[in-house]
Every structure is written in C-alpha cells, then in structure tokens.
C-alpha cells in the first residue's frame, strides 16, 4: 500500500491544483494576519472558511482523482498488488497531500507571525487538526461515491449534494427543528445532532475552544458543559475518527467486489 500511496502522493504533488490550494491558504493566512493583527479573530475567520471549504475541496478532489486515475488503477489491478491496497493507497495519497497543503499553507504565515509565542497556539492547532480530519472524512466519502458510480457526472453530482447537505442543509434542518420543537427540552437532541455531522462537530469544538460559547446562548452553555469536559472532548474525537474509519471500511469492501 505504501508504494501506491507514494505514487499517488507524488503524482498529486506535481499537479497544478495542489499548488493552487496551497497558495490559497498561504494567501488567506497572510492577509488575515497582517491586515487584522488580531490572532483570535484571524482564527475565527479561518474557522469559518475551513469548515466550509475543506469538505468541498476534499469531496471534489477525491472524486476527480478517482475518475482521473482510472487508467492507473486498471494498470495496477493486473499487477501483483492487493486490491484494497490500491484504493486505500490512492485515498491516503489524496487525503495526505490535501492535508499537507492546508497545514503548511496556513502554518507558514502563522509561524512567521509568531504563533509559538502566543496563547493562541492551541486554538490554532485544533483548527489544523479538525481541518485534517475533515479532509480525511470527505475524501473518503468522495471515494465511496466514486466507487459506487461508474458514471462521472452522477458521481460528481452526488459528491456535491453530499457536501451541500453536510455543510449547509443539515444546519438549516437542525435550526428549523429547534424552532419547531422549542417547547420541548432540546439539549440532548441538539447534542446528538451536532455529534452526527462532522462539519457541525468541528465548528462547535473550535468555537468552544475559543471561549466564545457565550455567543451561542443557552445551547452554548449546554455544549460547554458537555464538550468542555474531557469526556465530551474524547467522545467528539472518537466521533471524528469513526467518520474516517467507516467510509474507509466501505472503500475497502466496495473495492473487493468491483469489476474492471
């Protein structure tokens, strides 16, 4: 698997898009830090960008890479390589190179700004870790979608729908249900609903770390009580890990049964 990972990784590292993605984060980091001059505010703005953009790029890159490397895959299938290693290798190759663009692209301006001497280092690290998690999750979901759909257009369509649902629609439905059922106790429901969507979970985790949960009002207090504890933190990390493991398992399972 490592050999396949290496080839996919270097293949992507040579592609123009990795650089575009990297430069985008570099620019974003520089602009936010040096025009804003406030580390905490920069982290919040970054959070808003990352929460939406990382899943989008992860899904699109994942689907695109799978369809574009069809020839490479067919070539590999006739070689003495295990099937699951081919697909897992490609998946980790994509997810790793995307995470690297994110971490290095954002990391560099922050390092130059002097993040190591600032109290915001943990907020910032959490931001990068959740960003990496979101990349892993959405690239895996993209691979599952691509494996299930021979038709490129359909695959792309489903991938975009998935992103739209997770990043936008889910929140809308969630809010509407909160308004609709406002007479009932909703603490448990909102906790569970947040835990079930990796995008929401990441957002809440970062917001709570930034100590601005007061902005979230009453729910903020509930969340603070839950996520602020170590049990809550471990549980949410577990949830994010689960969101990586389950699609990865599906990639492996679907790869085993597919005809080429």
């Amino acid at each position: 698997m490592l050999k396949i990972l290496k080839y996919s990784f270097f293949d992507l590292m040579r592609s123009r898009w990795s650089y575009v993605y990297f430069l985008f984060y570099l620019l974003l980091g520089v602009v936010l830090l040096f025009l804003n001059n406030d580390l905490s505010k920069a982290v919040i703005t970054l959070m808003n960008v990352i929460i939406v953009l990382v899943p989008l790029i992860g899904t699109i890159f994942g689907v695109m890479y799978y369809y574009n490397s069809k020839e490479f895959t067919e070539l590999l299938l006739a070689q003495p390589v295990k099937r699951s290693s081919i697909f897992l290798g490609q998946y980790f190759g994509v997810a790793l190179s995307l995470s690297m663009s994110l971490i290095i692209g954002l990391g560099l301006p922050f390092v130059f700004y002097g993040i190591f001497n600032s109290g915001a280092i943990w907020d910032f690290s959490l931001l990068l870790v959740t960003g990496a998690f979101l990349t892993l999750i959405f690239t895996a979901l993209a691979f599952v979608i691509a494996l299930a759909n021979e038709n490129k257009i359909k695959g792309f369509g489903y991938a975009i729908l998935l992103w739209l649902f997770m990043a936008v629609i889910y929140d809308g439905v969630f809010l509407m249900s909160l308004v609709y059922f406002e007479e009932y106790p909703l603490d448990k429901f909102s906790l569970v609903a947040t835990m079930l969507n990796p995008v929401d979970l990441s957002r809440v985790l970062i917001l709570l770390k930034l100590d601005i949960s007061a902005l979230l009002g009453y729910t903020g207090a509930v969340f603070q009580k839950f996520f602020g504890t170590s049990v809550g933190f471990i549980l949410s990390s577990l949830m994010l890990t689960l969101w990586v493991i389950v699609p990865t398992y599906f990639i492996q399972r679907m790869a085993k049964r597919k005809d080429f």
């Binding site: 070539l75 070689q79 003495p80 099937r83 085993k256 005809d259 080429f260």
Partner: protein, 236 residues
C-alpha cells in the same frame, strides 16, 4: 496450468459467461477466439482477478485465485487498450512497474532496443501515438519472465516491422516453455502462431482443439473460412 470450472459472469442483465469449463496445460500458445461480445476479455479478466465471477472456480497450478493476489506475480498481462496515466513519461512508467514487482528481474533495455523506443523515453504518455503506446505496453508485459503470458489483442496499432518482432518475441517466449494466452481478430496471425484454439460463442466454449482439427471439422481448407463457417452455422 489453468483450470476453469463452470465459470459464470453477469453484468447486470447481460450474461457474458455461461458456464466455461477449460483446462490449459503448461507450455504452448493458446488462442481465445470468438466474435465481438463473446466474452473473451471477460474470461481473461476473470483469470487476472479484475472481474469477480458470479460463480465457478479458477485455479492456477492447483490453487484457487479467489481472495489471492500473489499469483499475479506469475502472470504478464497485456491489456487490450493501452490506457496509461497520461502525465508520466515512458521511463517513469517502466520504473514504477519495475518497482511494484521488485522481486523480479526486468529485461526492459533489450525490449526498448527491440521496439526502438529510446527516442520516446522522456515523452509523456499522453503525447504518444497509439502504436507507440502499444509498444510501451509490450515492453511492460514482456520485461518480466513469468510462466504465464496473457495478451489481449497484441497486434493493435502495430506497424509491419513491429508486428514481425512481436511474433518472434512470442515464439521465443514459447520456446522457454511458457504458456501464452492470446486473443486476436487477425486470423492470419493466429494461424501462424497458435498451437491450439479455444472458440467462444455466446459465453460458452464452442470448439477447442488444434487448427487442423478445426479445418477437418468444418470441412474448410482455409482457417479464416473455417472460423466463418463455424460462426454462420451457429447463427443459422
């Protein structure tokens, strides 16, 4: 030795292989023939494990290929359409495949020389002509010394000189005692090199035997006509 027992494969509603029983002994050139859509490529891909059969077993030298991948170390495969990752150069591609099968010694330089590929080594695969791609494909296939060689339409796009070199190459491999499985639509090519033919029709084996036996059976003196007569009698 390849043993195939009652192999079935369906793609959706389309039943491509309807119970193939085939035993191929070691050594010799076997041609798998049949009209378009008769299941030649599906049969070959099943042996390679690229297509997962619905039922039936395939054994290579006594071991089942199911849930197994190491056996592909003993197979060299030439795919029908040379689809390569386009942004690699010829040299990088050869290096990569050698790296994936690092347990084997590769004989790529002799083959590059044979097909005169030196001027193309640093060119990206996207920018190669169909015939040159096919030559690269041949180099990748023949550079390892595996006991079983599977060639799916090896002559596609080749010029006459390369065609002759390919025939010499196949004959030389046969003399080493290898088993070679070929599909082709060029009947003169098949007649010249094949020891035995396997004729597939609508997902079943319709005829298996030597070329003289086929000619006697169909009462035709010409190989191409013999095949045609088999086709028309089945269509009638």
């Amino acid at each position: 030795m390849i043993e195939i027992d009652n192999l079935h494969k369906r793609f959706g509603k389309n039943e491509v292989l309807k119970g193939i029983d085939l035993t191929i002994d070691n050594g010799g050139i076997f041609a798998v023939l049949g009209p378009n859509g008769s299941g030649k490529t599906t049969l070959i891909k099943s042996i390679l494990g690229m297509v997962v059969p619905n039922s039936g077993t395939i054994k290579l030298n006594g071991t089942s290929i199911k849930k197994n991948w190491e056996y592909r170390n003993d197979i060299d495969y030439l795919p029908q359409i040379a689809n390569f990752p386009g942004n690699l150069t010829v040299k990088e591609l050869i290096k990569m495949i050698k790296d994936l099968r690092s347990s084997k010694t590769a004989d790529d330089e002799r083959l590059i020389e044979l097909f005169k590929l030196q001027p193309f080594l640093d060119i990206k695969l996207n920018n190669l002509s169909g015939g040159t791609k096919q030559k690269v494909n041949l180099v990748l296939t023949f550079m390892f010394d595996s006991p079983l060689v599977i060639l799916d339409e090896p002559t596609t796009g080749l010029d006459p000189i390369s065609h002759i070199r390919l025939k010499q190459l196949i004959t030389a491999e046969k003399e080493k005692g290898k088993t070679i499985l070929i599909t082709s639509h060029i009947m003169s090519f098949v007649e010249e090199i094949a020891d035995e033919i396997v004729f597939l029709l609508e997902g079943k084996i319709y005829f298996r035997g030597s070329i003289p036996a086929l000619k006697t059976k169909t009462e035709q003196s010409d190989f191409e006509h013999a095949i045609a007569s088999m086709l028309s009698s089945s269509y009638a």
